[in-house]
Symmetry: C2
Amino acid sequence: MPGEAREHLLARVVDRMAEQGVSALSLRRLAADVGTSHRMLIYHFGSKEGLLVEVVREIESRQRSALSTMEIDPAVQPADAIRGMWRRLADPALWPYERLFFELYGQAVQGYPGTTALLEGVVESWLDLNVELAARRGVPAEVARTHARLGLAVIRGLLLDLLATGDRAGTDAALEAFAAGYEAGLPGLPGPRNGADS
Amino acid sequence: MPGEAREHLLARVVDRMAEQGVSALSLRRLAADVGTSHRMLIYHFGSKEGLLVEVVREIESRQRSALSTMEIDPAVQPADAIRGMWRRLADPALWPYERLFFELYGQAVQGYPGTTALLEGVVESWLDLNVELAARRGVPAEVARTHARLGLAVIRGLLLDLLATGDRAGTDAALEAFAAGYEAGLPGLPGPRNGADS
DNA sequence: CGGTACATGTACCACTTGGTACACGAGTGG
DNA sequence: CCACTCGTGTACCAAGTGGTACATGTACCG
């Protein structure tokens, strides 16, 4: 089942899915929108589920590459890193892909076959990256993990908000509040224990 | 299309959906699992979409009631409020309903018919509640809105994490880091502007 | 030339889907 | 007793589903 036109197909399929959603998906409709026959989709991907697997892989890979394009510069402060990240992700041009991501996430969490692969690394890979970056600044791994987890949650949560409400100003303000508070109080973590407590 | 056994049906349908997911839903399977015929579901709810609408309404109402059961005590500090909220929501017993919530959210954001109603108030109602509570403590509305937005994002984001990874200890630690940081730095918001800036 | 791998179109299949038609039974009020 | 509504079961429908069989085209390679 190798191929080269297959890649083009996949790209077009992902774009189409980003526009129309996964649930309202039938091989025939999809194929028509993309300019093929449903026969070809099955030929290239084996089955509908196989297609979904590939789509998930693709958006995972796009996510990962977006991640690696990020400022690996250890000089940039965490608060600014999260600001930059948000600025990038909140761009309306990316909304369709984020909608698709959350739709797949929602189905993956329900155990829908093919999508479950999305869950592996959907959190961990980000944490690992942050641990590595923080290490160069001398931050202990456990602290970096926890903070990365929090930052990721803030961004995903606000993205969820943004996609539902469209309120760019409101979500921007909330993120700024987080970043500012982070600069002010978090880095040393004055209060209670900060690492893993179990 | 009124009825009283209808309510029982709806409750059972929601429970079943929480276990099995919405996408893998056919009126027939659902009816069989719930102990009726697909004929009855259509009789009571008019159509599949009508059923979905009702399900969305139901889980919205459950969410709202869970919200109103929350500590309305203005004496409890915001950081403790978010801790209590998290403790309540992170309970594995609620996971099926949260999976269902995120699945529906994912489809709603894609414009899937019937689910879109979920988006109205899915953020705003929480903000409004917090504004009201904060007012009794003298916090200006705009600040309360922004902070509530952030807190909601943290909780939803961490919930997304928890459902994907199952890492209770890790997500607990991240939330504690947020709550502690909030106590330490946020309330006065020392840094930049905090309200809406647009 | 011929073979062989990739690619594609046509036709078909069994099955499931949401929805409907219709008959039937139980209860209730005139 | 009749009429009427509510609830339910059986049977059916057209449309669409994912998947397959098979024939065909197109290219490169020996």
